[in-house]
Each structure stands twice: as structure tokens, then as C-alpha cells.
């Protein structure tokens, strides 16, 4: 169970070679900036790679949701290596398999399908965030 005032950490992959990486980034922004800005915090993967103390501490003290673009699952692996607890792992590729009508294209700029896929994924991530927070006595959901 999460303690009061703790945030849910969102860690997207930093994938640069496939549209799925961009979807993970966009979904993370949707959650942390639009849908649950006060209840979540985005942690950049690059800082975890570098072993940044502050980022490691944030990940270690809060539950994390990882969003990976490909099967290599860098975000999940890095959170684990940083001593974090993953509440839920999302894989864009798996999510796309259940939303075949939303084919993501473009890396620098997602097509409409990719943007919709990111928004849909963000909604699912938000539901998990809410679930984690509702288990937290006195947690706010919106």
C-alpha cells in the first residue's frame, strides 16, 4: 500500500528508432501533464542510466509504471536495476496488438493513429494510477 502524498512514477522508454518509442513518450506526457499531473511524476530514463542519486531515490521510494516501446524493455529493466518497484509494465507493442486500427507511424512526429494510440494507452495507465492511489488512504484521484 502506498503512503499518503506519494506519487506514482511514470517511466517511458527513450526509444528513438521506432514509432512505438514515441508513443510511449507521448503517453507518459499525457498522463503526467494532462491527466494526472499532481499524482504522477515522470522520471527520465537517461538519469537512471547515469545512476543519478535523486532519480534513483524517487524511483526507490514510489511505485512505478513503466511504458516500453519494444521487447527489450529498457524502462522496466532500468527501474528494477535502480531498486524500484514496478506496479505495472506496459508494452506499446502489445497494446497496439489490441488496437490494430491505430497504427503508429513517424518517429519525430506521430501520425494521427499514433497519437490516438498514445492517448488510449495513457487512459489505461491513468486507470492503474488511480487504482494505486485509491489503495492509498486519503489519496486524491483527480
Amino acid at each position: 500500500m502506498m503512503e499518503k502524498n506519494k506519487k506514482v512514477i511514470i517511466v517511458p522508454c527513450s526509444g528513438i528508432g521506432k514509432p512505438y518509442g514515441t508513443v510511449s513518450r507521448e503517453a507518459a506526457y499525457d498522463v503526467t501533464e494532462d491527466l494526472r499531473p499532481r499524482q504522477t511524476q515522470l522520471v527520465p530514463l537517461a538519469l537512471l542510466v547515469l545512476g543519478d542519486e535523486e532519480s534513483r531515490a524517487v524511483v526507490a521510494e514510489n511505485q512505478a509504471i513503466t511504458i516500453d516501446g519494444c521487447k527489450l524493455a529498457c524502462a522496466a529493466k532500468m527501474v528494477q536495476q535502480s531498486g524500484g518497484t514496478i506496479a505495472q509494465e506496459f508494452a506499446v507493442l502489445d497494446f497496439y496488438r489490441t488496437h490494430k486500427d491505430l497504427k503508429p507511424q513517424g518517429i519525430a512526429e506521430l501520425n494521427e493513429g499514433g497519437q490516438k494510440l498514445a492517448h488510449a494507452l495513457a487512459e489505461e495507465v491513468t486507470a492503474v494510477v488511480d487504482g494505486l492511489l485509491s489503495a492509498n488512504e486519503g489519496g486524491e484521484n483527480a
Binding site: 517511458p12 522508454c13 527513450s14 526509444g15 528513438i16 528508432g17 521506432k18 518509442g21 513518450r25 507521448e26 507518459a28 506526457y29 501533464e33 515522470l42 527520465p44 530514463l45 537517461a46 538519469l47 537512471l48 542510466v49 547515469l50 543519478d52 519494444c70 527489450l72 524493455a73 529498457c74 524502462a75 529493466k77 532500468m78 536495476q81 518517429i107 519525430a108
Partner: protein, 243 residues
């Protein structure tokens, strides 16, 4: 016939999600990879140095690598150095923005005009560094390499990453020490398929091929050449017995 990997430049961006400058590194890297120098560049996701395998970690040893960082934490440069190899060059967007007197970039998801300008400037700088590392002299006014009679045009492509590429390596003993040589198995295979045998005059040719992917100091060249010839003979022998 196996293809010898073409000498390319590796691009590693921090892609920091927390800052507009991180978005600039990502978009600048993509611009170089997709539009400016698609034939000369490859990329890998920074976390793969930890989350990936040995082939991923060999990236910066195999490719002279340019690290593009958004801020002075320099995650891409330092991460590459820690886990893969020293970057050949490094750019920090905040420094470049200050040097060029650009406006403050804003907007992690949608860059403002200053941010978009910073993408152009950063990408241009990276392309210059790529040319320098490949010993090319790109004339920006002419949009072509200097001292090249027929300018090599590069068709735009969609960037792909080199994750899980498994760059081939082989350990050999040189002066009593084990040295990991990048691309050696592919070089041997290529030489064999070209009908070349382990004769003395082949030593310098092998050395030159190996030097494309590995640093060899002048005073070690003779030892390397002898070792490579010996290893090539062994390779030939083993290949012969397995077929």
C-alpha cells in the same frame, strides 16, 4: 558473401523527457539520421548500454560516437563513456543555444520557435561532426562534399535503431594480453570468401581492415599484423574442418 560493416558514425541522444532541450536532442538526432546523413549514421537507445547485451555495449567501440545532451548533466556522453566507450564528440544543447545566441527553448512536447531553431542548429552541428569523423569535407553552400567529383546524395530514410545488433567481436592474444577486436570474425569471413589465404603479403591487408574498426598504435602494428595472420590461418583451418 557477408558484408563488411560500413564505417558509420553512431549518434546517442539523451532524449531527456523532463526538458525541452531533451526533446531537441531527440529531434536533432532524428534529423541527422533521417535527412542530413542517413547513409553515414546509426543510433542506439542510451539505456541499451545497461539493459542490452554485449553487442549493444560494443556500440561506441565500433562506431565513433557523437553524444547529444540536453543539459550539463551530460547523461548521453557520460553514460556512453561508462558503459560503451569514449564518445568521439559531444554536444550540449544548452551550451550551443548560448553560444549561438538563440532564444530559450520551451515545450517538451511541442517546441516553440526557439526550440525548433535549436533543433536545426544542433542537427547541423552534428552533421558537421559526422563529416569530420568520416574525414569528409561537406560544403554547406554547395550542399556537397568537397574534393568529390560526384557528390553523394543521401536519400531520406526513417531512422532505425541498432539495438540488439550484436556487433561481432573476437578476442585475440597480443603481447600476452587478451584484446577484443571489433568486426574481426566478419573480416576473416570476407577475406576467405574473396579467396584470400594466410600468406605473408596478406598481413598488411588484414591489419588495414582491422584498423578501420579498432585503434592500433604505430608501434604495435607489426605485432598486430603477425597476430592477425596467425589467427586468420587458424580461422581458415577451423572453417575447413567444419565444412
Amino acid at each position: 558473401m557477408p558484408e563488411l560493416p560500413k564505417k558509420k558514425v553512431g549518434i546517442v541522444s539523451c532524449s531527456g523527457e523532463e526538458l525541452a532541450e531533451g526533446t531537441i536532442t531527440r529531434l536533432a538526432a532524428l534529423k541527422v539520421l533521417e535527412q542530413l546523413r542517413p547513409a553515414d549514421t546509426v543510433t542506439i537507445c542510451l539505456p541499451l548500454f545497461l539493459a542490452g547485451g554485449e553487442g549493444d555495449r560494443a556500440f561506441a567501440k565500433f562506431y565513433p560516437t557523437i553524444a547529444i545532451d540536453g543539459c550539463d548533466k551530460r547523461c548521453a556522453a557520460r553514460g556512453t563513456e561508462m558503459y560503451s566507450g569514449n564518445p568521439a564528440a559531444s554536444i550540449v544543447v544548452t551550451e550551443l543555444v548560448e553560444q549561438r545566441g538563440l532564444g530559450k527553448p520551451e515545450g517538451k512536447r511541442r517546441l516553440n520557435e526557439a526550440g525548433q531553431q535549436a533543433v536545426e542548429v544542433t542537427a547541423g552541428k552534428v552533421a558537421e561532426l559526422v563529416d569530420g569523423l568520416l574525414h569528409k569535407n561537406w560544403n554547406r553552400t554547395a550542399g556537397a562534399e568537397e574534393e568529390t567529383t560526384v557528390p553523394e546524395e543521401q536519400e531520406p530514410v526513417q531512422a532505425t535503431c541498432s539495438c540488439g545488433s550484436g556487433i561481432p567481436v573476437q578476442e585475440v592474444e597480443i603481447n600476452g594480453q587478451l584484446v577484443t577486436l571489433i568486426a574481426l570474425p566478419v573480416i576473416f569471413q570476407h577475406f576467405k570468401e574473396e579467396g584470400k589465404t594466410a600468406t605473408l603479403d596478406m598481413a598488411s591487408e588484414l591489419l588495414n581492415a582491422v584498423k578501420i574498426y579498432n585503434p592500433v598504435s604505430l608501434d604495435e602494428e607489426k605485432t598486430y599484423a603477425e597476430t592477425l595472420l596467425r589467427e586468420f590461418a587458424l580461422f581458415y583451418e577451423n572453417e575447413g574442418t567444419t565444412k
